[in-house]
């Protein structure tokens, strides 16, 4: 990974709507070079997807999110990967992380309501062979996501013109 690639990634992470022309100006590069570099990083999977960070509390939504701590019995030769794959294929699963500490997998699940999530845990996740136990934590409120403060009270307080 070159320094230029890293800088482009940082700019895109900050705002995925930024154009190649703007990036080119900001990094003192040719537009075509930046376009090519972005295309290459999309093709090789470095850039996986462009999304928006949404403050769902602003939207009338009943969405429920839970973080589930899963203890598993790892299989010889497969480690945790096989079970992780079975779990991350479920469409309601948003993220799966292998963790150090008192449990093994952290699974983030989104559902339209509490019942849907309860059903996911009891009917799909817990019965999986090798799942030893689950502990479900519901997210009550999001304050910060992906480095962005969702209800940032800090506004630009500067005077419109100053010395």
């Amino acid at each position: 990974m070159t320094e230029l690639q890293l800088k482009v990634l940082q700019l895109l992470k900050e705002n995925s709507k930024i154009t190649a022309k703007e990036i080119a100006s900001m990094l003192d590069q040719e537009v075509e070079a930046i376009e090519q570099l972005i295309q290459d990083m999309e093709a090789d999977g470095t850039i996986v997807k462009y999304t928006a960070i949404v403050n769902w509390e602003k939207v009338a939504s009943e969405q429920v999110i839970a973080m589930i701590d899963v203890k598993v019995a790892p299989k010889r030769g497969q480690g945790f990967d096989a079970l992780a794959e079975r779990i991350y294929r479920f469409p309601e699963v948003q993220s799966v992380y292998l963790m150090s500490g008192s449990y093994d997998l952290s699974v983030v699940v989104e559902g339209n309501n509490l019942k849907q999530l309860a059903e996911f845990v009891s009917a799909r996740l817990s019965p999986l062979e090798d799942v030893v136990s689950t502990t479900t934590h519901f997210i009550l409120k999001k304050y910060k996501e992906n480095g962005v403060i969702l209800n940032d009270k800090e506004k630009d307080q500067r005077l419109v013109v100053s010395p």
């Binding site: 100006s25 900001m26 419109v160 013109v161 100053s162």
Partner: protein, 397 residues
């Protein structure tokens, strides 16, 4: 009673700030994109704010010594040595002030008096001339030019020196041009200053904000330390404008004299700001570097934008201002800024507010988000292109 008769002649003599006048106009316009702001758009880093909150919780609300907390003076001296190889004693060669602005005022009042001339390198921050006048001295403009990358040229300086010249005040990296002076440039200036036995007030508040080459201070040129009052502060580099923490570094006798004015007027800088400054200097480098990188990216975006529009713009190598030349539009800078505001709701500051050398330019701060810069450039482009065409046609006729 005639109030005007009661006002001091010095105060009556100085004009109100040109920025203030333009500010009133901008405030009256709704939904403005402002490139007129002379301060960082970042909020002071959280750990700095938190340290001040903690000190308040501990009941630290008292006066400090007139010259500032010893701990802070020590930290500033360490920082200036480490960053710019400037060596000063925390005991008697430094004082903490209420922003760099106070330091400029008391430096001028300390060294200048009736009959003296103070050479002011223009375009420059708006307070130098009026502060020299308030000190009783006569400000003398020393212009810098776009063709010289807004560097101070030795022959221009020499041409303005008279037997009455006492001191020169300059600011590099410069507000509003973004011009910088490199070590080689400063050596030539220092020779003239020594030859004519002048003092220097060097406002280096933008010293950290350079792109490419590291800042060079005139105080580091041989034989210049004793002649220089170096002024700086944390406002711009650490995004701490509202805390009002600046400092002056100079010969012990000059600092002692400046301290007299400071102790009878200001007494000391607020302790909560001093505590915050201590934390910024100790642990704020990483945040500062991130801000500088962003300024650099925006700088390139805005300069390229102006060049594409057809406004010639020298490449600023410091601070966070672009200073495009708007003469191609056929407008003078005040008229340009006012029309631009009216037509496109983009606020820029007319260059002549910063002195005669700024005539025909506008100051555009890029301490704002890149999306605002992009939007502002689009609007400026739509406004400027027909003007440039019209002006060209008129000149052809």
């Amino acid at each position: 009673m005639n109030i005007q008769e009661k006002l001091s002649p010095q105060v009556k003599q100085i004009p109100p700030s040109g920025i203030r006048k333009f500010f009133d106009l901008v405030v009256a316009t709704k939904g403005v994109i402002s490139l007129g702001v002379g301060e960082p758009d970042f909020v002071t880093p959280w750990h700095v704010r938190e340290s001040s909150i903690h000190s308040l919780e501990q009941g630290m609300t008292s006066y400090t010594s007139n010259s500032g907390l010893l701990e802070l003076r020590e930290e500033i001296c360490r920082y200036m040595d480490e960053t710019f190889a400037l060596k000063y004693s925390p005991n008697n060669e430094i004082m903490v002030t209420v922003g760099a602005s106070e330091a400029i005022d008391i430096a001028l009042r300390t060294i200048a008096s009736q009959g003296d001339e103070v050479l002011i390198v223009e375009p420059c921050y708006v307070s130098y001339g009026p502060c020299a006048t308030l000190a009783g001295a006569t400000p003398v403009s020393v212009p810098t030019y776009q063709k010289d990358d807004f560097k101070l040229m030795p022959e221009v300086l020499e041409s303005k020196i008279t037997p009455k010249s006492k001191a020169i005040i300059m600011c590099f990296p410069n507000n509003p041009t973004g011009g910088v002076m490199e070590e080689e440039d400063l050596k030539k200036i220092a020779d003239i200053i020594k030859k004519h036995d002048l003092l220097v007030i060097s406002d280096e508040v933008y010293a950290e904000l350079t792109y490419g080459k590291k800042h060079a201070s005139i105080a580091n040129i041989e034989g210049m330390k004793d002649r220089t009052i170096l002024i700086s502060g944390l406002s711009k580099s650490f995004a701490m404008t509202g805390w009002r923490i600046g400092f002056a570094m100079a010969h012990p006798e000059i600092i002692a004299a400046m301290l007299k004015i400071h102790q009878y007027t200001i007494l000391c800088a607020p302790i909560m700001g001093q505590i915050a400054a201590l934390e910024a200097l100790r642990n704020g480098k990483c945040e500062m570097d991130k801000m500088i990188e962003q300024y650099d990216q925006r700088r390139k975006l805005i300069v390229k934008g102006f060049q594409e529009i057809g406004l010639s713009c020298h490449i600023p190598k410091g601070a966070f201002y672009a200073f495009p030349n708007i003469e191609a539009t056929g407008y003078e800078d005040h008229q340009f800024a006012e029309e631009l505001l009216k037509e496109t709701k983009v606020a820029v500051v007319p260059g002549s507010v910063f002195g005669q050398g700024g005539k025909g330019f506008i100051r555009c701060s890029y301490a704002t988000s890149y999306s605002q810069i992009t939007e502002a450039l689009e609007r400026i482009g739509e406004f400027v292109l027909p003007l440039i065409d019209k002006n060209k046609n008129e000149q052809a006729i």
